[in-house]
Amino acid sequence: MTAVISPDTHHDDAHEAHEHHGPTGVLKWLTTTDHKIIGLSYTVTAVLMLVIGGFFAELIRVQLSAPYEHFLSFAQYNEVFTMHGSIMIYLFAGPMAFGALANIIVPIQIGAPDMAFPRLNALSYWLYLTGSITMLSGFFVSGGAANFGWVGYAPLSNAANSPGAGADLWIGALLLTGFSAIFTGVNICATVFYLRAPGMTLFRMPIFTWNLLVTSILILLAFPVLTAGLIMLYCDRHFGTHIFSVQGGGVPVLWQHIFWFWGHPEVYILALPFFGMVTEIIPVFSRKPVFGYKGMVFATLTIAALSLGVWAHHMFTTGTVLLPFFSIMSLLIAVPTGIKLFNWIGSMWRGQIWFSAAMLFAIGFVITFLIGGLTGIYLASPPLDFFTHDTYFVVAHFHSVVMALVMGGIAGLYYWGPKITGYLLNETIGKIQFWFLFIGSQVFTLPLYILGLRGMPRRMAVYPNNPGWQHLNEIATFGAVLIGISTVLFVVNILVSWKKYPAGDNPWDGHTLEWFTTSPPPHHNFYRLPQIRSERPTWDYNHPEAPALTHGTHEEK
């Protein structure tokens, strides 16, 4: 089909040209190349993975709620925490970040009719789906699913220590999802570089699209390294190579270098898209332009640049890495991240804040991410890291970060859901869901910090010699239950609001191009486009009387 972007004046004629006739039902899902349907498939699959991964999290918390609980066997516990981490990182957070909302929103935000490579985009989704099935099918083979932790450290992950098909399925799943990510990265880069609407200069792109562009560059830098590492690991397991084993002259720490060279940029690959979502939401619900637009962009680019030089802060205690280099680089990342935090606060400052569910989740993101970010600064310091490495302090740190990302993602779903489906979600249930998730997240993570400082190690199924840890673990389990309730409330909200509250084209009085088109958008996204002369083209079109004010001023001078 030929895409035609038509100017404002001819939209009635263009309407006819955009009518799309194709297969329906399952065949439509199997053959679609429409970025919106692919993005929706990504969203549904990723949320399903969140529910499965969250279920495993609840199993872990039940097991740890007593010092010598027999709820899970040791073998089951190893499988459950491995698959919890693997599902959440590889199958939920990543695809949710750069596959789901990114796929739907990025082309619309820059005024493009579709992604640059629609069929490659569909392939990305199929690789992601088959990768997910591959990883989960580990539970149905003899020996069970992978059980060496989501990081798969050598030599634990070699054939002697982790025999069985589960580990190989884990490797295969990461190969598939890795290629899925790389293809999505290529696609988003090409879309942003080549399919922008006239007038949409790079420095007029919405921050969400900017962050996705930088995320895609990071994907292209990081994911091939992981894929290469996985092939080496597979060769070690099956073809008799000794890349990661000492016996044959290999170097086990090399796996950690390769894994974390992907793994730390991956943290920003996960985080930057959610930063972008929040940066879209906060200004819209504060009735202000984003504070420090260029500062935000340069902060994102700086985070991406620095993220390639911090991987070995996961490896301080191996004794084989250059401590000052990695410590300096890791501490430096706090600077651009801090700029972002101040800009979010600056965007809200003296705005007319509308505390919708999306805005509440965005504010929850900022607070929770601040906790996770600040504790990350401690961990960047080797003396502190030697003390807390592999304790629950680290677990608490990254769970604060990822719970913040979950809030950012749900904020994005409340904000853009109406654009995708045409219907709003129930605001009251959304607000109740927010308080369950926000309070639950803090009740869940804060005790883990104290447990870590008291020396509770990660990945232990029982702690019979330290019954004093029980009370804090019980509190954390209670927090996990609150988070579980919030997830149930989200599903309830979707069911309750199903096709009930029509959204209209622009329910939030949004700033960016996606609010200019219909909800849901037509097959190639736009019947017409406004002139693009700022980073808020839809706002400029809807509010021609509103002057562009300098920050800090109240009235037109």
């Binding site: 089909m1 030929t2 895409a3 035609v4 972007i5 038509s6 100017p7 006739h21 194709g22 297969p23 199997l30 053959t31 190349t33 005024g111 009719p113 629609p118 069929r119 569909a122 392939l123 989704y125 199929w126 690789l127 789906l129 088959t130 099935i133 591959t134 098909a165 190989d168 399925l169 295969g172 190969l175 598939l176 570089f193 399919l195 922008r196 609407a197 006239p198 007038g199 200069t201 790079l202 420095f203 560059i217 390294v225 597979y234 090399l254 270098h257 060279f261 680019l301 640049a305 390639l308 030089g309 070995a312 084989t320 890495v321 250059l322 280099f325 190639h524 486009l529 002139q531 693009i532």
Partner: protein, 129 residues
């Protein structure tokens, strides 16, 4: 186009400097090599964009372009296609053959070849719709 090129080139330059400093300071080969390779990923597309940006007029999306300038033909997008699914299924079987036995490579490769031929033929027709 110039700005796109500049972003990639600056990233590449940063990685080249950081990689050199790291490699000399630490003497650790894997990380040094990986950062330098990251620099190449900046330089390669960056210099290509730079080369092109000097040889083409400024695009409407890089200046205060009018919406009408973007009107008309953008490109042929296949409306629907089964071949991404076929290729994905082929890759799925190929990966499963690493775990459950090499015979699964037969359907895997079959689907991949079918998707490659079908997809290319579809592109020549300009998409199915």
């Amino acid at each position: 186009m110039k700005l796109e090129a500049r972003i990639l080139l600056v990233l590449g330059l940063f990685f080249a400097i950081m990689g050199t400093v790291y490699w000399i300071w630490s003497g650790e080969n894997a990380g040094g090599m990986m950062i330098i390779a990251g620099g190449l990923l900046g330089f390669l597309p960056g210099s290509y964009y730079w080369w092109w940006s000097r040889r083409m007029p400024v695009r409407p999306e890089d200046r205060d372009g009018d919406v009408t300038e973007g009107a008309g033909f953008v490109g042929a997008f296949p409306g629907t296609s089964i071949f991404p699914f076929t290729l994905g299924a082929g890759a799925f079987f190929a990966v499963l053959s690493l775990v459950f036995g090499f015979w699964l490579m037969v359907p895997g490769l079959g689907l991949i070849v079918w998707a490659a031929i079908g997809g290319v033929a579809e592109s020549r027709r300009g998409g199915t719709q």
